[in-house]
Structures are given as structure tokens and as C-alpha cells.
């Protein structure tokens, strides 16, 4: 069981490295984004010490981290699945002894690892721009981030599976990208969202990919709240697992391979 997944992860990693120039471009975009956010927020704070319990330093650190995380975990498999369904090559993925979803999950994990490798040179720059200092909650940060990654992975798998119905995930994955980045809090921390929007953002799982771990890191979420966040993440993972399983079973039954 391990070997097929390791093989698939290796392909994901190689795939990421094969598009090196793309990654370099997006690393540049990441650095630029963090830099621009820093300018905007510094001017918005206008010398105030704290806003909603966040100092400017903590906010800048938060934004850098949240963007770094969102970048590193951004999903590739909806695009891969979209392409493979459209061209019918998904036939081969489905004809393997290993399940389609485990294959895609492993591919995504390898791809993320490749992204981290190439991101490494940019990390010091982003940390510097965000003036990030060591965290008081390293374990809480690692835990919320790891679980957040699993949630992000499962959401991506869900998008992939939807593709088996619509035979088209291009528009859906674009929408997903926009929505997930916004509600992950990469531009504005979720605690700044007003009224209903704040409630919505809090109810959605996207915050675990950006806001929650980054807020834990800078101390905006602390104490018992960390434990609660971890518990809710585990609940999300369980719920998504059930949902994925149910949706996949139905998708599998109605698989159509295009072209002949």
C-alpha cells in the first residue's frame, strides 16, 4: 500500500520541479503580495498600537505567514483531474490497483513537498518583510497547520470528485481558489471581518489553511482556544472523510471515459 503512494508522491514532486519557472514566478508574486500588504496595513494602522487585539507587528507577521501557508498548500490536483478527465487519460488512473483518491492525495503531497523545496529560498525574505519572531506556541502551530493541510487536501479531493459529474472542473477550481484564499484570511485576518461575513468565515473550513495556524503563531489565538481549534479540525476531517467516501462511491458508479 505504501509503495504505490510513494511512487505517486514522487511523480507529484517531479511534476512540481518540472514547472520550475512557474514556481519562481509565483514566489516572486508571493513576495510582492506580502510586501504590498505590509504597505497597506502599515498606513491603515497609522501609528495606532492595537486593533482588535492585534499589534501592527503581530498583524504583519500574521499576513506573511498566512500567505506563505496558502501558497505552499495551494492545490494542484483539481487541475490535474480536470485535464485527465477531459482528455480521457483518467482511464489509466482508474485502471490501477490503487484507488484514485489515494493516488491523487499522494500526488498532491509530493507536489506540496516540491513547492516547499523551491519556496525555501524565499522564506527568509518573507520572514524579514513580516518581521517574524519565534512563536510561543510551536506545538499548537504545527498541529493546527498539519491538520489544516489535511483539510485542504480533502477539500481538493472533493473538487476532483465533482469533476466526475460535471466533466469540467476548470471554473469550479478557479472559484474554489478565490473563495478559499479569501476565507483563509490571506489579505485580512478573519477577526477583522464584519458581522455576517465574520460568522460565515468562521463557519467555513478555509480558515484552517491560513488564519488559524498563523493566528496561533502570533499569539492571536492562544490557551484553550488552540485545543478547541484542533478538536474542530479533527471533526472537520472526519466529516469530510465521510462525505468524500459517499460522494466518491456514487461518482465511481457513473464514471464515463471520454473519447475512444
Amino acid at each position: 500500500m505504501i509503495r504505490p503512494l510513494a511512487g505517486m508522491a514522487r511523480i507529484g514532486l517531479r511534476f512540481q520541479l518540472a514547472y520550475r519557472s512557474d514556481v519562481i514566478m509565483s514566489v516572486l508574486a508571493l513576495v510582492a503580495q506580502v510586501f504590498l500588504l505590509r504597505m497597506v496595513w502599515t498606513s491603515l494602522y497609522g501609528g495606532q498600537g492595537q486593533t482588535r487585539g492585534l499589534s501592527l507587528e503581530a498583524l504583519l507577521a500574521y499576513l506573511s505567514l498566512a500567505n506563505l501557508q496558502a501558497f505552499a498548500t495551494s492545490p494542484i490536483i483539481p487541475r490535474i483531474t480536470h485535464f485527465r478527465i477531459r482528455t480521457g487519460t483518467v482511464f489509466f488512473d482508474l485502471s490501477r490497483p490503487t484507488g484514485y483518491l489515494p493516488q491523487m492525495a499522494a500526488f498532491q503531497a509530493g507536489h506540496t513537498a516540491g513547492g516547499l523545496l523551491m519556496l525555501a529560498p524565499a522564506v527568509p525574505v518573507v520572514l524579514l518583510v513580516g518581521t517574524i519572531t519565534p512563536t510561543a506556541h510551536p506545538v499548537g502551530y504545527a498541529a493546527t497547520l498539519a491538520l489544516g493541510y489535511v483539510i485542504s487536501l480533502m477539500m481538493s479531493l472533493l473538487i476532483c470528485v465533482i469533476g466526475f459529474w460535471t466533466l469540467e472542473t476548470g471554473a469550479i477550481s478557479l472559484l474554489y481558489r478565490l473563495v478559499s484564499h479569501f476565507f483563509a484570511g490571506t489579505m485580512v485576518p478573519l477577526s477583522f471581518f464584519p458581522g455576517a461575513l465574520g460568522v460565515l468565515a468562521d463557519a467555513l473550513p478555509f480558515k484552517y489553511m491560513g488564519y488559524v495556524p498563523a493566528a496561533v503563531y502570533v499569539g492571536h489565538i492562544s490557551g484553550g482556544e488552540i485545543g478547541r481549534a484542533v478538536a474542530v479540525e479533527v471533526a472537520w476531517i472526519a466529516a469530510l472523510a465521510v462525505l468524500l467516501w459517499a460522494v466518491w462511491r456514487r461518482a465511481h458508479r457513473r464514471v464515463v471515459i471520454q473519447g475512444g
Binding site: F15, T87, F91, F92, P97, T166, R253, V256, G260
Partner: protein, 308 residues
């Protein structure tokens, strides 16, 4: 090895609507378009046989192959491959079959060929020593060494097809489905692919179902063919039987003095010299030849009859 009985596949798609809101209506509609791609096909293939699975475009060949691999679930009928029902026992079936679709590739487009081959070794859990041996054999048989480390997108069609054949056979499956494995290849590449198929069949007693529009493939590899059209079996038997049963009469083709060419059917049992004498009595013959019916003309005739 393979048993198929009254196999049927009906594709059911939500009706497509036109107009600005068309896609939305398609998404919520309860009206469906149905299309019967395979319509009550039955056949049996014993171990170690190479069978040509032939038919005109849209006959239902690829759909049958997709059901044999267990990817598509039949609407009706029965399939057994090596004693298993493919769509119910997908995992075991997956280990037992290799598939090549000439029109599409299982190789990762952006990565060197070797990466895709290694992936196959991992996915089917081929022990390292056996993998090395298999790969060596594939490289020798198919001449992969020259482009093993080239990204697949830079390969020519023939090179890519050889890579795909290797990927389908690396784990030594006892059954091989080949759907147009020679499409678009030049004569030399076709020859290489045919030799590979023959060799695989000879050494490993691999059972092969071969779909192709190139009858030279069939003549080189198959003794038996199954002909289908519109999802139904038209003929199942030896090539020789097919030719005897359906062959059109031989023809005498003459070129006349005024550059006109005319053909005369040679009725079974009639005398050719007599026919020539009769023709030359009326015309001045400059050249003549006798055309034997070939597999192509036989199959053309069957397709044409099934059209009616």
C-alpha cells in the same frame, strides 16, 4: 480466459440544451439522451490467443475494451476475465490486465519516460529485481534506450507508443488490451509494435485483444477476428473462414487500347481463358491482371451489407 455474454452498454447523458441558459438547464434536467454503444455482444477468448476486434468507427470497440478493464460498468450482460467480474473486482482485475490506447497515453507528459515506467513498477508493486529485468527486456525489444530520459512531450508518436507498450507490459499481465496501438505510426514503427505483440504472446502466452483499423496488423498477428458494427457481432471466426464465406468473386481487370479500364467478375468455377477470349473478341486488350479478393475488400463488403 475472457467470457462475454449479451454484453450491453447504454450511455445515458443529460439532454444538452442550447441557448444562453442551456448549460444550466442541462445541469438540472431530468431528460436524457440514450445511445446504445454495445448491444448484446457475446464471445469467448481462450488463454494465449490473439484476437482482432474489428469494426467501423463508432462500432463499440473502445466501449467494449473499457468494460473489459472494469472501468465502465455494463448496462446489461455478463463479463468474466480470468474468472473475475472486472467491474466488481477492479483491483485484482487491474493487476491482470495491461492496456494501450493508441489515442491517449498513460505516460506523464512533462516527465522523462523513465519516471512513468518507474511509477508503473510502484503502482503494481513489481519487485525491484523483476522490474530491472522487465525494463531491460522492454528496452531491448522496443529500443527505448535512446529516449528513456527524454520528457514524454518531446517524443515522437512512435516513440511514445513504444513507451506506452512498455508501461502496459512491465508487470507482466496475462491479458493485454490494445486499442489501435499502431494508429499514426510509420511502416517501420508498425513493424516494431507487431513484433513486440507477437513476441509477448509467444513468450508469456499473453492473451491479446487487438483493435485496429489497419488490416495488415490483423493479417500479421491474428488468426481469429471478431467483427462488430453498431454494437452487434457480425462475424466471429478464423480469417480464412471469413474470406471463404464473404469473399467477393475474383475479377479480371483489362486495360483497353483506348486507355479505358474495365473489370469483369470471374464467376466461381468458370474458365478464365474463356473469359479472356470472350473479352478480346470484342475489345483490343493492352494489358490484363486478375485481382484476388483481400481481407480489406471482404471487410468492406461486410460493412456495406451491415449498412443496409
Amino acid at each position: 480466459m475472457i467470457r462475454v455474454e449479451s454484453l450491453t452498454k447504454v450511455f445515458r447523458r443529460p439532454r444538452a440544451f442550447s441557448g444562453p441558459l442551456g448549460p444550466l438547464r442541462t445541469l438540472v434536467t431530468r431528460r436524457y439522451d440514450e445511445r446504445t454503444a454495445v448491444d448484446g455482444v457475446s464471445f469467448e477468448i481462450p488463454e494465449g490467443e490473439i484476437v482482432g476486434y474489428l469494426g467501423p468507427n463508432g462500432a463499440g470497440k473502445s466501449t467494449t475494451v473499457k468494460m473489459l478493464t472494469g472501468i465502465l460498468t455494463p448496462t446489461d450482460g455478463l463479463i468474466e476475465v480470468g474468472g473475475r467480474v472486472p467491474w466488481r473486482d477492479r483491483e485484482a482485475n487491474a493487476r491482470a490486465v495491461g492496456v494501450v490506447f493508441g489515442q491517449r497515453s498513460q505516460l506523464w507528459w512533462d516527465l522523462p519516460l523513465i519516471d512513468s515506467l518507474r511509477l508503473v513498477g510502484d503502482l503494481y508493486d513489481v519487485p525491484a529485481a523483476r522490474f530491472t529485468g522487465s525494463l531491460r527486456r522492454m528496452c531491448d525489444l522496443l529500443g527505448l534506450d535512446d529516449f528513456l530520459h527524454t520528457p514524454v512531450r518531446q517524443l515522437s508518436l512512435g516513440q511514445r507508443m513504444r513507451g506506452d507498450l512498455a508501461a502496459a507490459m512491465l508487470y507482466d499481465p496475462p491479458i493485454l488490451y490494445l486499442d489501435e496501438p499502431t494508429v499514426g505510426l510509420d511502416v517501420m514503427a508498425k513493424q516494431a509494435v507487431r513484433e513486440f505483440i507477437a513476441e509477448t504472446n509467444r513468450i508469456g502466452r499473453t492473451t491479446v485483444v487487438l483493435t485496429t483499423h489497419d488490416l495488415a496488423d490483423v493479417e500479421a498477428l491474428c488468426r481469429r477476428i471478431i467483427l462488430i458494427d453498431k454494437g452487434r457481432v457480425l462475424f466471429d471466426g478464423g480469417i480464412d473462414d471469413l474470406v471463404t464465406a464473404y469473399a467477393p468473386p475474383r475479377r479480371l481487370v483489362v486495360e483497353l487500347a483506348d486507355d479505358e479500364t474495365r473489370a469483369f467478375e470471374i464467376a466461381a468455377g468458370s474458365s478464365i481463358p474463356e473469359l479472356i477470349a470472350r473479352v478480346s473478341a470484342e475489345h483490343t486488350i493492352r494489358d490484363l491482371s486478375i485481382h484476388e479478393p483481400d481481407l480489406e475488400s471482404v471487410i468492406k463488403r461486410i460493412y456495406a451489407e451491415s449498412e443496409r
